[in-house]
């Protein structure tokens, strides 16, 4: 008996020790993974603020107000000038994001509705796989597709309507590439939202004599609107952050705000990417500043959209 109690106690102590070890080990992992955000933000902040507070190796400080409002990326020689400005890039980035969402949102949501509610089971399975595969294609592939196919189509299209586009490098091409990229994101998240709509709401609608299509559009979609809105937020996040694909089709505009969808453009991300590997000094650091601005733009956009989402409200969803 005595020995049995003792054994139990050792067992207990051992278990406690194991529990604690695992607890602290996992806590360590959790702290490590969550601290990356601070490390990344810290590095970007330090690098990105440098151009505004130091002398930049004799070039002088970059003026923050001019930087945020100007309409020419760089006046003067690279490496010998501090007159950087990105005001026009902020506007064109938001403009492109808005336009591409205008295409990808309806297409994505309606695809989701079809997969979730209308398609026969076999077809739905196939389509879901296709959409998921589309979501996992690397963005550079979308970029190459854009450079090889979309640029040609846009170039020929502009010729048809009598506009000489610059080899198809344009807002329209960027918007098309980005729209194709975001459709799978929007479709797969919307589909989950549509599926989770309570069956009883649907049945109620059908029982009242509404047709299937009426039910789908007026009941299912409105009930799932919160989840659908989330898909739009994630979609716009992808659009704002995409660099490689856009830089292949945007044309690299260096100055001026442009709303002509057949003319060249640039976004915050493409400007950061261009010439990155061969640059040094201020020209390198200023790309981190653009990065900060990009993060702020994304944050503001997300907060706004989340605010609208709360206003839109929620209906009884499982």
């Amino acid at each position: 008996m005595q020995s049995k109690i003792q054994l139990n106690q050792t067992q207990k102590r051992h278990n406690q020790w194991l529990d604690n070890t695992i607890k602290y080990l996992l806590m360590g992992f959790a702290i490590l993974s969550s601290s990356f955000i601070f490390i990344i933000a810290g590095v970007i902040m330090v690098k990105g603020v440098t151009p505004f507070i130091t002398n930049n190796g004799g070039l002088g400080r970059v003026n923050l107000a001019d930087f945020l409002t100007g309409t020419t990326w760089l006046i003067g020689e690279s490496f010998n000038s501090n007159l950087y400005a990105i005001g026009f890039l902020i506007i064109s980035t938001l403009f492109i994001a808005f336009l591409s969402l205008l295409i990808s949102f309806p297409v994505g949501v309606l695809t989701a509705l079809f997969i979730a509610k209308i398609a026969p089971k076999k077809l739905a399975e196939t389509l879901r796989t296709v959409v998921e595969m589309l979501a996992s294609i690397p963005s550079i592939i979308y970029g190459l597709f854009g450079a090889g196919i979309i640029l040609k189509i846009v170039y020929d299209l502009s010729t048809l309507i009598g506009f000489q586009s610059k080899g198809g490098n344009s807002i329209l091409s960027s918007v098309l590439v980005l729209a194709i990229m975001t459709i799978p994101t929007i479709a797969s998240i919307s589909e989950v939202a549509i599926r989770s709509v309570d069956k009883s709401i649907e049945h109620g609608s059908l029982a009242l004599g509404a047709s299937k299509t009426q039910t789908h559009f007026k009941v299912v979609l409105t009930s799932a609107k919160s989840g659908i809105f989330t898909s739009a937020i994630l979609g716009i996040g992808r659009v704002l952050g995409e660099a490689t694909a856009v830089s292949l089709v945007a044309g690299g505009r260096r100055s001026g705000i442009n709303f002509n969808i057949l003319d060249t453009t640039s976004t915050l991300t493409t400007m950061m990417l261009e010439g990155m590997k061969e640059t040094t000094g201020l020209d390198y650091d200023i790309r981190f500043s653009v990065g900060i601005v990009l993060m702020v733009v994304i944050l503001i956009t997300n907060f706004t959209l989340n605010y609208i989402k709360r206003k839109v409200g929620n209906v009884d969803v499982k």
Partner: protein, 309 residues
């Protein structure tokens, strides 16, 4: 189904439209100017070559509305844009686009080597003065490396990395006996290479191949620009860690850089040629430096301006 058909019909009509408009070149159209970004070595070589050096690192002297693309981007754009003009390194040239003759000379490797094709830049090397090394091993290795640069073994590596090697028939096997140092084990010897970053890729491939032939010496690469080739081999003492034993420049050495440098301590290893390219439908086959400058600074805005010359 109807949607798919509509999309197919639309795509078909676009490709048909492309076919019909492809046959005639309308020279009253605007020229679309393509360029690399300001950090590109090819851009610097091109702009210097056509006498528009100010545009090498500055965008605001260029024509309004130019398009910035990388090397592949310019190639694919010239396949699409009938009215575009761009430039690439000769090694990228292929038959999907049209490479223009420069000042009447066709862009071929032979014309670059016989010095008739003008839009090119030399890849040069410079070493330290004789006796100005930490040890005789390093000096002998550097001399062996310079000898290696003139062999057909090195020429193959240079050509494979996008530059044009000088004509040579000497093989490394035939001269390696003159450099007994390469038969030793040199794993503890470090040779420092530097200079032009445009040549970095070629230089690294060369040292990698040569190290295996020369007792596995360690090649340290730190490429900071052509200007540093002279500075770091000639004016900076060996005690400074940034000093180099061999350095490269992607241009001829300036007269001020040649003062006091022995003839044997510098030379050329390769050429890099740049070609102005246009769409295949473009009727022009030749372009001059003056025309290119006029296009890139915006004096000529329509193709008729170029054709009428």
């Amino acid at each position: 189904m109807r949607k798919i058909l509509a999309v197919l019909a639309l795509a078909l009509s676009f490709s048909l439209a492309a076919c019909t408009s492809g046959s005639s070149f309308d020279d009253s159209k605007n020229i679309t100017v393509y360029t690399r970004d300001t950090t590109s070595g090819t851009r610097a070589g091109f702009m210097d070559g056509i006498g528009f050096a100010a545009a090498a690192t500055s965008d605001d002297v260029l024509v309004e509305g130019f398009v910035i693309k990388d090397n592949t981007g310019i190639m694919t754009s010239m396949g699409t844009d009938e009215y575009g003009i761009g430039y690439v390194s000769l090694s990228s040239l292929n038959n999907t686009i049209k490479g223009l003759s420069y000042e009447g000379v066709a862009p071929t490797v032979a014309n670059v080597l016989n010095n008739t094709y003008g839009l090119k830049r030399p890849f040069m090397w410079m070493t330290r003065d004789a006796g100005d090394y930490e040890s005789t091993e390093i000096e002998q290795l550097v001399n062996a490396f310079v000898a290696f640069l003139g062999t057909s073994d090195a020429a193959d590596i240079i050509n494979n990395n996008g530059a044009i090697a000088l004509d040579t028939t000497v093989t490394w096997d035939s001269i390696k006996a003159q450099h007994p140092i390469t038969a030793r084990n040199n794993a503890n010897v470090t040779v420092r290479f530097g200079g032009s970053d445009s040549i970095q890729k070629v230089a690294q491939a060369l040292t990698q191949a040569f190290s295996a032939k020369a007792g596995n010496f360690v090649a340290e690469h730190d490429h900071t620009g052509s200007g540093d080739a002279y500075k770091r081999t000639q004016t900076i003492g060996l005690s400074d860690p940034v000093s180099k034993h061999v350095a490269f420049a992607s241009r001829y050495f300036k007269d001020t850089e040649k003062v006091g440098v022995a003839e044997s301590a510098m030379g050329q290893l390769a050429w890099d040629a740049i070609v102005a390219i246009v769409h295949k439908n473009n009727p022009i086959t030749n372009i001059t430096a003056a025309q290119l400058k006029a296009i890139y600074d915006g004096t000529y805005s329509k193709w008729s301006d170029v054709v009428s010359e």
